[in-house]
């Protein structure tokens, strides 16, 4: 009888444990609204719309026939638009009002006319020379008018298999004339050439990301023989998709497939080192995680942002183009996320396969490969306000920006940058209590620490008498309490001391 009871009880206990363990499934959801931003913890929250699509131009609107798989758009110093109509083997040049100026289908090489094949990236340097990636023919051409002055072809180096096809996709040229080419399949980085065509080396390769699988592979490789190692997969870094160069010769690169979702955009200096680091002490998610911070998994694969183009404007605002979900991400020079815009689809303002982004005056042009259209986006009034306030903030003019920040907060009460701006302004003005309050909401610990220091000094100076009296009273009370507990209540008094003699 007793045995049966314990058996029944243990059966019930095991079932309860089993159910408790099995039913503890985690739940997660991706934000389903239209416009969003990321808070300091990396969660998506609602935000006001940052951009609106003004108009969508396709080939027939521009008068050039339907565009097929256009790959790149470039705007030079004279506000001329170069559009690479890759599928139709031509490059189109428009002025800023979209009047067709020139159509390049053939080029003169040593007096001989040759057709372009799948032209991709374009670039115009300060002297007006056009650099064109003739991807189908495996070369980059430097054009003056229709004549080819120089060709940049597959570099003769042991690091690249000479039997592979050379497919240069994007080109940028710095002010010294150095040509950087992003080629398909070249994972060692960008190819750097002198202006006369000689290959000088690789520039700024990505580093191999130390994920767990990479580390496990490395330990196995240490133990295996050379033949076994050669038959294993090689661990190589990820290649770039696109590049952009600014007026100070910093090269911005876009990496579409980042296993760890970090460093999707890099700002490389002349040595090839990435100087775009999020120095904020308060980013409570992975620093240098650009694009979408929340990802979902479909059939075991992580669906993350794949950044296919990057643009940096004169004020340092970095725009990223995400092909996965058709979004534009805009950051200021300190990697604070300002805006997210766009979605995937066929409507005005949605993109199917965005391939390139550029800025014309105050509007952004996004080129869509599948739809063959150029979408012109402009800022909403809210976004213009935020941009202005951010400019003042980055210039250190905190106090001038306060009223702007307050207006912005009325529309978007969770923009932590606004609270940081107001907090720093109050700190400058000397209003420490208010500064602490605002900085706390803005999650800025460094500035909060400075404000606390000053506030503490003031507080002690104001209340020094009370503090000293309070401390003395506290100590006296503590002493009396301990004596009371020992003497009156007999706490921990050793009565029997004879034992230790």
């Amino acid at each position: 009888m007793k045995m049966k009871k314990t058996k029944r009880f243990s059966c019930c206990l095991l079932t309860a444990l089993f159910l408790a363990a099995a039913l503890g499934q985690p739940a997660s959801a991706l934000y389903q609204g239209k416009d969003y931003q990321y808070d300091d913890y990396g969660n998506s929250i609602a935000a006001p719309a940052a951009m609106s699509a003004d108009r969508v131009l396709d080939g027939t609107d521009l008068g050039v026939g339907p565009l097929r798989e256009p790959d790149d758009i470039f705007i030079d110093a004279g506000q001329n638009i170069y559009l690479s109509d890759t599928g139709n083997d031509r490059v189109l040049k428009f002025d800023k009002n979209w009047k067709l100026l020139r159509q390049i289908t053939q080029v003169l090489i040593d007096g001989e006319e040759q057709s372009l094949r799948s032209p991709s990236g374009t670039f115009v340097d300060a002297e007006g020379m056009l650099y064109l990636c003739d991807t189908g023919n495996g070369r980059v051409l430097k054009l003056k008018g229709d004549t080819v002055l120089c060709q940049y072809t597959m570099p003769k180096t042991e690091l690249i298999d000479q039997n592979d096809e050379f497919k240069p996709e994007k080109v940028v040229v710095d002010t010294t004339g150095c040509v950087y080419v992003v080629a398909y399949g070249i994972y060692q980085g960008m190819l750097a050439y002198d202006n006369d065509g000689t290959f000088t080396g690789f520039f700024g390769s990505n580093k191999v990301e130390p994920t767990v699988s990479v580390l496990i592979e490395l330990t196995w490789k240490k133990l295996f023989t050379k033949e076994q190692r050669e038959s294993m997969t090689r661990i190589i870094p990820v290649e770039y998709a696109n590049a952009f160069i600014d007026s100070k010769n910093f090269v911005y690169t876009a990496t579409p497939n980042s296993e760890t979702s970090l460093n999707e955009v890099k700002k490389l200096n002349a040595l090839g080192n990435n100087i775009l680091t999020n120095t904020s002490y308060d980013t409570l998610y992975d620093k240098n995680d650009f694009g979408d911070l929340e990802n979902n998994h479909e059939q075991g694969k992580k669906i993350d942002s794949s950044i296919v183009d990057v643009h940096a404007d004169a004020d340092g605002i970095i725009t990223l183009l995400d092909q996965t979900r058709g979004r534009l991400f805009q950051y200021d020079g300190d990697c604070n996320l300002l805006f997210v815009f766009g979605s995937s689809g066929y409507q005005k303002g949605s993109f199917r396969t965005p391939s390139s982004v550029e800025k014309l005056d105050d509007c952004y042009l996004v080129l869509d490969k599948t739809k063959g259209t150029v979408t012109v986006l402009s800022y909403t009034p809210y976004a213009k306000q935020v941009k202005e306030a951010v400019m003042l903030y980055n210039a250190g003019k905190y106090i001038e920006a306060v009223s702007l920040w307050e207006d912005i907060l009325r529309e978007n009460s969770s923009l932590s940058l606004a609270y940081k701006g107001i907090g720093k302004a109050r700190l400058q003005q000397g209003d420490y209590a208010q500064a602490m309050q605002a900085l706390r909401r803005g999650n800025d610990r460094q500035a909060y620490s400075s404000a606390l220091q000053e506030y503490r000094k003031e507080f002690i100076r104001r209340n020094s008498v009370w503090l000293i009296l309070g401390a003395a009273a506290f100590l006296a009370a503590l002493v009396f309490l301990i004596r009371f507990l020992k003497v009156r209540l007999g706490f921990a008094v050793k009565k029997d001391r004879r034992r230790y003699q």
Partner: protein
Amino acid sequence: MEFVKRLGRSVAVGVKNYDWSKWKWKNLDKTKIGWGMRTMFHPYSTFETIRQSGKGSALFALVVFLAVFVTDTIAYSAEGFLFNTNRPEEFNIFLQFFQSELLILLWCVCNWCTTTLLDGEGKLGDIWLFSNYAMLPRVVFGIPLVVLSNVITLEEQMFLTFFQGALWLWCLVILGNGMIVFHQFTLKKVIGSSLLTLLVMACVVFIALLFVSISQQMLQFIQTLLRESINRV
């Protein structure tokens, strides 16, 4: 049904005949609180006294046990903004309880298993006692540290880390003394058995995780089975 009635009746009789007055505040031996506090400052001699003249209170140990949970909960939200990245909306009381208490519980059980095999003289009650008494510094000085964290700046963070570390070290010293006195171990044996206890704790956690993961898979399997049979039949 008969069984339930008999069970109910025996429980009622047990409750009525039990001497509940011994749990009333005025009947409790309050000097045991004092002995517990003295453990903080003179661990070895106090534990000897407790061992020989029975001045240890399992009830006080339970109070300290719960106080650890309370202190951690208060610290979760009240710790200074500069050092606190916890989000109040993400506070999970069950998770917090396990975070604070599971270590102590697991330690008690695994230490008892290990020290029994190593010929220690401490019983499970003794281990419960000195393990919880060892948490006293954390409880007594935990809240003042939380108050301190609210008034210091980032440059002074090292003070906070120092005091927090010193507190943990203090707890370990009391724990070590408790092990020496109650199990009658030498210091070398204390360190050895502690490491072994940690190993056993890791094994227990591993087996628990394994159990959870396999149960989830089993349930998924049963779910799939049922879904298939419903759709096909």
